[in-house]
C-alpha cells in the first residue's frame, strides 16, 4: 500500500517576500538596457526611411539649392568637411601625441604635469560652443590685433605664395584650429593610456642596452603604443566631424555654393592647382551645418528628406571611421599576443 503523497512544503512569507520586488527591479533594468537598442533602431530606421529616394549620386555631386529640394546637394559640405578635418588632423595629432609623450615619459611626476592633467579633465567638460567662442575670438578675430581697425593695420600677408588673411575671419583654418583645440584633450588622454599600457620591462630592457630616453621612446615605446594611439585619434576625429556649434561661431556659413578653393572635383585640381593653396583660407561650410540649415527650412521636403539624406552621408562616413578604429584595435591585439 502506497503512503499518501507528501504535501509540498509551504513557502514561508519571509522567503518569497523579496521576490516580487526583485523581479520588478530586474525587469526595469532589463527594459532600460534594451530600450537603448530600441531607440537606436527607431532613430536609424526613421532616418533611412526619410532619406529613401533622396540619396543619390546627384545629391552627392551637386551644390545646395535655395528653392528646389530635388536639386540640392551636399558637395560643398563634403569638401568643406574634408579640408577642415585635414587641417585639424595635421594640427591636433602631433601636438596631442607630443603632449602625451611628454606627460608620460619625460615629466612624469612634475608639479607642472599634474596641473596639466587636472587642466585636461576640465577642458574635456567645456561645452563645444564655448570652444566656438574661443575660436571666434582667438582665430577669427585674433583679439582685434589685426584688421582695418586693429593695432596692426593689415588685412593679410603674403607668405610663400599664400594669401593669408589676417585676422583669419571665417575661413577653414580658423574652424580647423578651433576643432583641433577641442579634440586635443581626447587625443592626449587616449595616447596617455596607450603609452601606459606598454609594459615597463620593455623600457628597462631598452635603457639597459644603452638607449637614451628619446631613443627608448621613439624606437620601442611609441611603436608599441601606436595602435592604441591611432584608435584614440580616429575616435577624436569622428567627434570633430559631427560638430557644428563651434564652426557656426567661427563663421562657417550655412548656404554655400562652392567648395573651398573652388576645388570640387579631381579634374579641378588638375586645372587649377593653386586652388589647393587657396582652399584653407577660403570660407566654407561643413556637412553638419548643411544638415542644420536644411532642417530649418520652411519647405517640408528640405526639412524632412534632404536633411535626412545629408544625415545618412554623415553617419556613413562616421561608421566607416569607427569600423576602421575597431579593425586597427583588433589587429594590434592579435599581434602583441603570442
Amino acid at each position: 500500500m502506497t503512503a499518501p503523497p507528501i504535501p509540498p512544503a509551504a513557502q514561508p512569507d519571509w522567503l518569497t517576500a523579496g521576490k516580487r520586488e526583485g523581479r520588478v527591479f530586474s525587469t526595469l533594468c532589463w527594459l532600460s538596457t534594451w530600450s537603448s537598442v530600441a531607440i537606436l533602431a527607431v532613430l536609424l530606421s526613421g532616418i533611412i526611411y526619410q532619406a529613401w529616394g533622396w540619396l543619390d549620386w546627384q545629391f552627392l555631386t551637386s551644390f545646395d539649392s535655395q528653392r528646389f529640394p530635388a536639386k540640392a546637394g551636399i558637395l560643398a559640405g563634403l569638401w568643406g568637411t574634408f579640408w577642415t578635418i585635414l587641417i585639424t588632423i595635421l594640427v591636433a595629432v602631433p601636438v596631442g601625441v607630443g603632449a602625451a609623450v611628454y606627460l608620460e615619459e619625460f615629466g612624469r611626476n612634475d608639479r607642472l604635469s599634474r596641473i596639466i592633467q587636472v587642466n585636461l579633465s576640465n577642458l574635456a567638460g567645456v561645452p563645444s560652443i564655448v570652444y566656438g567662442i574661443l575660436g571666434l575670438t582667438a582665430f577669427s578675430r585674433m583679439f582685434g590685433l589685426f584688421g582695418e581697425q586693429g593695432l596692426i593695420k593689415t588685412t593679410g600677408i603674403r607668405w610663400l605664395g599664400l594669401d593669408i588673411p589676417l585676422p583669419f575671419g571665417n575661413t577653414v583654418v580658423a574652424g580647423a584650429l578651433t576643432l583641433a583645440l577641442m579634440i586635443l584633450p581626447v587625443i592626449i588622454v587616449a595616447s596617455q593610456e596607450a603609452l601606459r599600457a606598454v609594459p615597463p620591462s620593455i623600457r628597462h630592457a631598452a635603457l639597459a642596452l644603452g638607449a637614451t630616453k628619446w631613443q627608448m621612446v621613439s624606437h620601442q615605446v611609441l611603436p608599441a603604443a601606436l595602435p592604441g594611439i591611432m584608435t584614440g585619434v580616429i575616435l577624436a576625429i569622428s567627434r570633430a566631424m559631427g560638430e557644428a556649434a563651434p564652426l557656426i561661431l567661427v563663421g562657417a556659413t550655412t548656404f554655400v555654393l562652392y567648395a573651398p578653393g573652388d576645388i570640387s572635383s579631381l579634374s579641378d585640381i588638375k586645372d587649377n592647382p593653386t586652388g589647393l593653396l587657396k582652399a584653407p583660407f577660403d570660407t566654407f561650410t561643413v556637412m553638419p551645418i548643411q544638415i542644420f540649415n536644411w532642417a530649418q527650412q520652411a519647405k517640408a521636403d528640405f526639412r524632412e528628406h534632404v536633411a535626412a539624406a545629408g544625415i545618412v552621408v554623415l553617419l556613413a562616413m562616421l561608421l566607416l571611421l569607427n569600423a576602421t578604429a575597431i579593425i586597427v584595435r583588433n589587429r594590434s591585439q592579435r599581434k602583441m599576443k603570442y
Partner: protein
C-alpha cells in the same frame, strides 16, 4: 643532502687557463692571479630613506663568473643594478661610495650613462624581447649606437646569436616575431641582444629562474662558455647553480657583504658562521 652542492663545487673541474689577454701566465695546476674589472669601495645605497646596501667592498675579477647569493631582499639585485646604473631610473635613490670600472668612477659627473650601459650589459629575470622580429631585437643595440650599414648589422646579429648558442635554431627565421620563441629561446635571445652591443661585462639577474631545467642547463652551459671573453656577474638564489657555474661567490645578507671568495672554498670551508648557516640551509 644538504651539502650536495658542496660536492658539486668540490668536484668541478678547475677553471681552464685564461686567454692570452691576461698578463700573468699560469703555472700548471694553479689558477692565475685575477685582474680586477669592477671595484666597489664602501658602497652604500639608499631607496629614499631606507638603506639597502651598507658599505660594500668588493673586487670583481675579469673574465670570470662571479655569483651573488643570499636570501630574498638581501640587496644582491640592488647591487647588480648599481654596476650599470639602472637604479638611476628609480626615483629618489642615492649612492654613496665609489664603483670603479677599470679605474673610472662610474658615478662620476663626467660619465655618460648611455656609454656605460653599452659596455655593461644586462639580462633580466623575466625575458623581455621587444615585440619585433628576432633580427630587430638584436640589431636594436647597434642601431641606436649609430650603426647603419646593413652588412655590419647582419654580421653583428649572426655573431651575437652564435655566441648565445641560438643561431642554429633561428637562422632561417630571423624576420619572425621574437614573441613566438619558447621561454628558454627568448632568454637566450635576450643574452644575444645584450651581447650585440659588444660589452665586456654581462650582468645577469636570476637569468634561469623562470626556465625549465633543460633550458636552465643550456643557459648555464652558455655562461660557462661566455666567461672566456666576458666578465659575468650573476645573481642567483639557487646555490647549486652558483656552485656549478661561478668562479667566485659573494654572499650578501641584509644589505651587507658577508663573505667573498673562491667558489669552491666558500662552499666547502666558509670563513663566516653566517655563510655556513645559509649554505647549510639553516635560514633563507
Amino acid at each position: 643532502m644538504a651539502h650536495s652542492f658542496t660536492n658539486v663545487a668540490a668536484n668541478r673541474p678547475p677553471t681552464p687557463p685564461k686567454g692570452p689577454a691576461t698578463a700573468a701566465v699560469a703555472p700548471a695546476g694553479q689558477t692565475p692571479p685575477q685582474v680586477t674589472k669592477f671595484e666597489v669601495r664602501d658602497l652604500s645605497f639608499f631607496y629614499g630613506a631606507t638603506q639597502a646596501l651598507f658599505s660594500v667592498n668588493l673586487s670583481i675579477p675579469q673574465q670570470s663568473v662571479t655569483a651573488l647569493i643570499g636570501p630574498s631582499g638581501c640587496g644582491k639585485s640592488t647591487f647588480l643594478r648599481v654596476l650599470n646604473r639602472m637604479n638611476d631610473i628609480i626615483e629618489d635613490t642615492r649612492v654613496l661610495g665609489t664603483a670603479l670600472l677599470e679605474g673610472i668612477d662610474i658615478y662620476g659627473p663626467l660619465v655618460d650613462v648611455v656609454a656605460l650601459r653599452k659596455r655593461v650589459g644586462m639580462v633580466f629575470q623575466k625575458s623581455t624581447p621587444f615585440p619585433k622580429s628576432i633580427f630587430d631585437n638584436i640589431a636594436f643595440g647597434p642601431r641606436i649606437a649609430g650603426v647603419r650599414d646593413k652588412a655590419v648589422l647582419a654580421e653583428t646579429v649572426e655573431t651575437s646569436l652564435v655566441r648565445a648558442a641560438l643561431w642554429g635554431e633561428v637562422k632561417d627565421r630571423l624576420q619572425d616575431s621574437a614573441l613566438a620563441l619558447s621561454g628558454g629561446q627568448q632568454q637566450r635571445l635576450c643574452i644575444a641582444r645584450a651581447l650585440a652591443t659588444n660589452p665586456d661585462v654581462l650582468l645577469m639577474d636570476e637569468p634561469a629562474s623562470a626556465l625549465d631545467p633543460a633550458s636552465t642547463a643550456r643557459v648555464e652551459d652558455l655562461i660557462f662558455e661566455l666567461k672566456q671573453n666576458y666578465t659575468i656577474v650573476i645573481v642567483t638564489h639557487n646555490m647549486q647553480q652558483a656552485a656549478r657555474v661561478s668562479d667566485s661567490t659573494a654572499f650578501f645578507y641584509n644589505g651587507k657583504l658577508i663573505e667573498f671568495g673562491d667558489t669552491r672554498q666558500l662552499f666547502t670551508k666558509p670563513r663566516e658562521q653566517q655563510t655556513e648557516d645559509y649554505i647549510t640551509g639553516r635560514f633563507g
